[in-house]
Each structure stands twice: as C-alpha cells, then as structure tokens.
C-alpha cells in the first residue's frame, strides 16, 4: 500500500520545491505509475536474450535475481528464459545464506549469476531488505553469494 503514501508526499508543493521538481507546471499530478504511458506503449522487443549474449561477450558483470513469491514475473519465468542462453555452470547450484538463514538459491554460470530470494515478492528489496542488500554487496564486489 506504500504507493499511496508516495502519492501524498510527492504531490506536496513544499516537497516538489525541495526536489526542484515540476518546475514547468506539468499539467497532471505526480503518480507512481502513468496509465497513459502504459496503455500507449509503442514498441517492445520480444526478447532480451540476444542483448544478454552481447553483454556477456562484452565482459559485463550480469546478475539476475528473483523473489520467489512473485507471480507477475515469477522465478519460473526467469529460469525458463535464462535456460535458453545455454550457459555452462561455473559454481553449481547451492543455497546462499544471510544472517544464518537461507536467503535463496543461486548458480554462477559462465558470464551470469542467477539468484533467488526466498520469500520475496516482486519488489525484492521491499520485502526482504537484508537479503537484497547482501545480494547488492556481492554483486558490487563481484563475488558469489555466501555459502554459510
């Protein structure tokens, strides 16, 4: 329900002034999601997998994570998609830990790291902030998620 708090806060004139926002008097109120844009989306690529191949070939660090109680873009969707990349495993599947609890499961492939986040919904850092932060630390440091 937290979008509702944002709708109140970011429409406050004093907040907009502090943020240097809405300086041209935008003719609609601030909303968390724009229905207009969503309904009129003009072009979408069918698959990001070719770009994943480019990024991996270009040496970029690529991490993909998934909160495992989201049913909108669920973990199975991500696994089915990534499977098509046919990457070979570098570090085989294992549970990763945060504060002595299973944070989720992970596999390090050649060029890509995949991790699930146990009990997290679509917005992983909202539902599992500690686990998401561990994920972010490991990603920035370029090291696999902790095994214990």
């Amino acid at each position: 329900c937290t979008e509702k708090y944002a709708e109140i806060y970011y429409n406050r004139p004093d907040v907009q002034k502090a943020l240097h926002a809405n300086t041209t008097k935008i003719p609609y109120k601030w909303t968390a999601c724009s229905e207009t844009l969503n309904r009129n989306w003009n072009d979408t690529e069918a698959s990001m997998l070719p770009i994943y191949k480019e990024m991996i070939a270009g040496g970029l660090r690529v991490w993909v994570f998934s909160g495992d109680v989201d049913s909108v873009v669920p973990v199975t969707a991500t696994r089915f998609s990534l499977e098509r990349l046919k990457l070979s495993a570098k570090i085989p599947w294992y549970p990763w830990y945060v504060k002595k609890q299973v944070g989720g499961w992970t596999e390090v492939y050649e060029g890509l790291t995949f991790a699930t986040v146990r009990g997290a919904g679509h917005e992983v850092p909202l539902f599992k902030p500690r686990a998401a932060f561990q994920l972010f630390k490991s990603f920035l440091n370029g090291i696999p998620l902790p095994k214990s």
Partner: protein, 264 residues
C-alpha cells in the same frame, strides 16, 4: 563553470520531514531532446561515506512501463528514506544501498513521475527504442553536470519491465563507448523479477501458477493449449482464460507477493 552552477542548483538542502543525514543529495532535470522538450528527472543520493566519489555509481530504473523509480526504487526499496503512512515525513531505511554506492534514480521515460515532454504526443508513442536512446543521452549529459563521476564504475540495476530498460541501456552504452572519446565506465547490470523473453516468460508464469497451486490443472492445460505466446497480443480466447484464472481461481491475493495480505 556551468556544470558547477547546475550542480549547485540541483543540490537538495533537505526534504520536508527528513531526518538528519550525513550524505548529499541532488535532484533536477536533464534535457534529453531539445526539439521535443523531453526532460528526465533524476534524484541522486550520494554514498553515506567520507568520500562518496570513491564508490561506484549505481543507476536504478523502474519498470511498468510507466512507473516511477522515485516511487518504487527510491521510496520503497533501496533508497535511504521511507515514507510514513500519512505522507508527512520520512524515516531512514536501515538497509539503504547508498551505504556502499551512489544511487541515481532516473524517472524514465518522459511522462513518468516528474519527467515531462513539451510535446504531448510523446506520451502516446513512447516505447523501448526511444526510452533507451533518451536514457543514454541522460547519462551522457548527467556526467557532464557531475564530472567527478566520469571515471567511476557504473552499474545499471532495476526490476520488472526494467528488465528491458537495463539491458537496452547497457547495449546503447556499449555502442556509444565504441566511438566515444570519453567512454562510460559501465561494469555491469543487475535485474530482479525482470521481463526477459515474451515466450518463455509467459510459459514460465503459468507454470509457476500451476506449480504453486494457484490455478487448476484444467486451466493450466487450457492456457497452454489456447494461448500462442509467440504473439505480441493474445487472442480473445486466451484473454478470457487469463481472466478466469485471475478472477475465479487466484482469489483476492496480492499477485506481486502471493502469501502477503492484499492491499485493499
């Protein structure tokens, strides 16, 4: 210099209801298309360390398409502040990602949040291609305004439909770097619950629904048989099956977190 003036203009002294913090924040607009008057809004929360420029720059994009990274990324997920229930103030996020990185939230494309376009038709014909190009222009122009970040490692992160934005921006940056005098130091990307591939995402989604007992065997089989996930738009018959699954079988759940209490 002009960059210094712009940076000073964008510096946030404090947000209403904000607790005391040790880091600097900046927000404002970067024009990405002069002709159309498209400008993207950003909010930078620098790393809460003694020397923030020693830390990488992490760009966060939200999905939708059409959703705000200020609303979600910054205010609900990884940013330093959380909003209280009455919208009167802010409190600190104990697990803010800005404890180890500089966070740059971009409202993209034009029309999202505080981002805008002076050409109203821009709101009716946005899409992946223009969003990626506008974001690249944003990053280039933003680094001109904040030159101290020019040599920092850059990472792009995001969730949901940003599963398109993030790799597409990475591809634009990689192409830009091939010809640029000053390449952008892009090191990596990270995406969560990301839209990746139309066909496999859809098959995986209904398989998740079935394997988590959210839909019946019959509905699962019908969805697999009647929906052609290679198509951009589903047939009416397929849409009817989706509606049946959601209205009659899911129940009143939060689809974004199936075991959480629903937000009424």
């Amino acid at each position: 210099t002009r960059a210094e003036e712009e940076e000073q203009h964008d510096r946030i002294s404090a947000l209403p209801g904000q607790p005391k913090v040790s880091f600097q924040q900046y927000s404002g607009y970067v024009t990405v298309n002069q002709k159309s008057g498209r400008a993207l809004f950003y909010w930078l929360t620098e790393a809460a360390v003694r020397d923030p420029v020693s830390k990488p720059l992490v760009i966060w994009l939200n999905g939708g398409p059409g959703c705000s990274s200020v609303a979600y990324g910054a205010s609900e997920e990884i940013g330093p502040f959380r909003l209280n229930k009455t919208g009167t103030g802010l409190y600190l996020n104990k697990f803010s990602w800005n404890s180890i990185a500089n966070l740059l939230f971009i409202e993209s494309p034009a029309g999202v949040g505080f981002s805008y376009s002076n050409t109203s038709s821009d709101l009716l014909n946005s899409g992946d291609r223009r969003t990626a190009k506008d974001c690249l222009e944003f990053v280039i122009q933003w680094l001109e305004r904040f030159p101290r970040y020019k040599n920092r490692d850059v990472y792009i992160t995001g969730e949901s439909y940003a599963g398109h934005y993030v790799p597409q921006l990475a591809r634009e940056i990689m192409a830009h770097n091939k010809i640029a005098k000053h390449p952008i130091h892009l090191k990596g990307i990270m995406v969560g619950n990301a839209v990746t591939d139309n066909y496999y995402d859809n098959v995986g989604t209904i398989t998740y629904w079935w394997s988590h007992a959210m839909i019946s065997d019959k509905t699962y089989r019908q969805l697999l048989n009647k929906c052609d996930f290679h198509r951009q738009k589903n047939s009416n018959e397929c849409e009817t099956l989706y509606s049946y699954a959601m209205d009659q079988e899911f129940g009143n759940i939060d689809q974004y977190n199936i075991y959480a209490p629903p937000c009424n």
